[in-house]
């Protein structure tokens, strides 16, 4: 199988702290990959390193290693160019534009694209995925509920027509039901559009359920990787992330 995104030996620094220590991972075409790990493990840093949205005052990040997307190195490109190459991103905490309307937020997702007709057609497509956004389209995005804002952030990322969609803790602050709904949407986008997805999660239960492949990140290192069935059986994963030793599903 072909790796769409490949990180090799990535080292990223926050000032004098080494946040990622020789991280290597591959996200395969057409799969849902999950990056699992506790608070402070460096999950978000992985995403920000790929997007090149980390701004250290003096040094460009990552400090070491290479990132390849579709076989080409992207670790020295600007964020805008990375988006143009086909990586979409739903950041942690949603990061919508609170005083733009829902429609304008969605439109901003297509910022790097040209062609008004295609864009308008794609807006219709995301409205079909998320009917609630059509109902709210003229409302200021800041007044949406948390779950709706999460949907909006996903819709915005989809507007860039990414080949790889990265989501940073989409379950953050959402009810279990809403979390499940979001993951169902991720799965259906993966199936219907054939889009490759990389999800960053703390919620191991749900992540293991939807993933094709799982990476476990601790203290800035990938300590474990494998298929979810294998991971579920791993004793350490069960104790640390699934919170129990019995096999019952949530």
């Amino acid at each position: 199988m072909k790796a769409l995104l490949k990180l090799s030996g990535i080292e990223t620094w926050h000032g004098s702290i080494c946040a990622l220590k020789h991280v290597s991972l591959e996200v395969f075409q057409g799969q849902i990959a999950v990056l699992l790990g506790p608070n402070g493990a460096g999950k978000t840093t992985v995403l920000k390193t790929v997007m090149r949205s980390l701004y250290d005052q003096k040094r460009a990040q990552p400090e070491k290693g290479s990132i390849e997307f579709e076989g080409k190195r992207i670790d020295r490109l600007k964020t805008g160019e990375i988006v143009r190459r086909g990586i979409g991103c739903v950041p942690e905490g949603r990061e919508i534009f609170p005083e733009l309307t829902v429609r304008e937020n969605i439109l901003m997702g297509a910022y790097t694209r040209r062609g008004g007709k295609d864009i308008r057609a794609d807006i219709e497509t995301v409205y079909r995925y998320f009917p609630i956004l059509r109902e709210r389209k003229d409302r200021q995005a800041g007044y949406l509920s948390g779950g709706e804002q999460q949907l909006l952030a996903i819709a915005r990322a989809l507007m860039g027509r990414p080949k790889l969609l990265m989501l940073d803790e989409p379950s953050l602050g959402l009810s279990p039901m809403m979390t499940r709904e979001i993951f169902e949407i991720i799965r259906s986008i993966n199936l219907q559009e054939g889009m490759t997805v990389l999800v960053i999660e703390q919620n191991a239960n749900i992540a293991l359920q939807y993933a094709h492949y799982v990476f476990l990140l601790e203290n800035g290192r990938v300590v474990h990787a494998g298929k979810p069935e294998v991971m579920k059986r791993d004793k350490r994963v069960r104790e640390a992330y699934l919170g129990s030793s019995d096999n019952s599903s949530p």
């Binding site: 005052q57 950041p91 990061e95 534009f97 304008e104 901003m108 910022y111």
Partner: protein, 290 residues
């Protein structure tokens, strides 16, 4: 008489408002109040004076050339002085704009001297039309109203319907998110400075035509326009125009009753608004949920 006072107040107020739009644009994209706005506009007005009176370039050509120069000056100042410091605090950036102000004022004084010069627009301040009774309006005021209305309409459509316009608002609201959807934030800042400099220069031409041209001529209008911006809420373009109109009328009426105290009206307005309604009269601000 009172009608005349109000009408003149509205005219001056529109000019304050127009000038205030200039710093609203920069404030909206970067949270920086640009204290060099007045001197940028002054410098560009001198540029126009120079090519008009020394090279006798036709008015409209020199007008357009000046707007082009204003855009260039804005982009250049942002790129040379503010961009290298973009990681520093807002107060630091404001300090830099004060530095730019001093540099530009020094340059203008060195190049064109401190004496007052006459700056002439095709629309005269002294050619007037009677509206009714003893109330009249000057060509200058008519041109100013038309210009202000055009600028406002253009900006409304720009911010509402164009891609760079929406992107400018997006950058102001959430710079990180704007970056990850692919916005080149540097280009947006350049655009903001260019637009702001152009609009400020247009306003300065009207001020210069109504008074005289010297290196300090924009100082007082700047303070008044700043008061207008504070009054209207420095975020909103219709807000600052309204703030400008209110201030212009208040100042004129107040100045008629107590002529000696006219200059302090703007300062009182700044202090009162900042004490009692710091976000301005017309701004409804979205407060982020935690």
């Amino acid at each position: 008489m009172i009608a005349q006072l109000i009408l003149e107040g509205i005219a001056t107020g529109a000019c304050y408002g127009l000038f205030a739009i200039a710093f609203v644009i920069i404030y909206k994209t970067s949270d920086v109040v640009n204290f060099s706005q007045a001197e940028m506009a002054m410098f560009c007005t001198y540029f126009m004076y120079h090519i008009l009176s020394l090279y006798h370039v036709p008015f409209w050509i020199s007008f357009l050339a000046t707007l082009g120069f204003a855009a260039f000056l804005g982009i250049m100042l942002e790129y040379v002085f503010l961009r290298p410091a973009r990681h520093s605090s807002t107060i630091g950036l404001i300090g830099i704009t004060l530095g730019i102000e001093i540099i530009l004022m020094g340059l203008a004084g060195w190049k064109w001297g401190a004496e007052q010069k006459e700056f002439v627009l095709p629309v005269s301040y002294s050619s007037t039309h009677t509206i009714f009774g003893d109330t009249f309006i000057s060509d200058w005021a008519i041109a100013l109203f038309v210009t202000t209305a055009c600028v406002m309409t253009a900006l409304y459509f720009f911010f509402k319907y164009t891609k760079p316009g929406i992107a400018m608002r997006a950058v102001q609201q959430n710079m990180y998110a704007a970056r990850i959807v692919g916005v080149n934030t540097g280009a947006i800042f350049s655009l903001a400075w260019a637009m702001s400099s152009v609009i400020g220069t247009i306003a300065a031409m009207f001020f210069a035509a109504a008074s005289t041209l010297d290196p300090q001529f924009m100082m007082t209008p700047f303070v008044r326009a700043f008061a207008a911006a504070v009054l209207g809420g420095i975020q909103s373009i219709p807000g600052v125009i309204l703030g400008g109109l209110i201030l212009g009328v208040a100042e004129n009426v107040f100045g008629y009753v107590w002529p000696d105290s006219k200059p302090i009206v703007a300062l009182i307005v700044i202090v009162l608004v900042l004490c009692f309604r710091p976000s301005g009269l017309f701004v409804r601000h979205y407060i982020k949920k935690v």
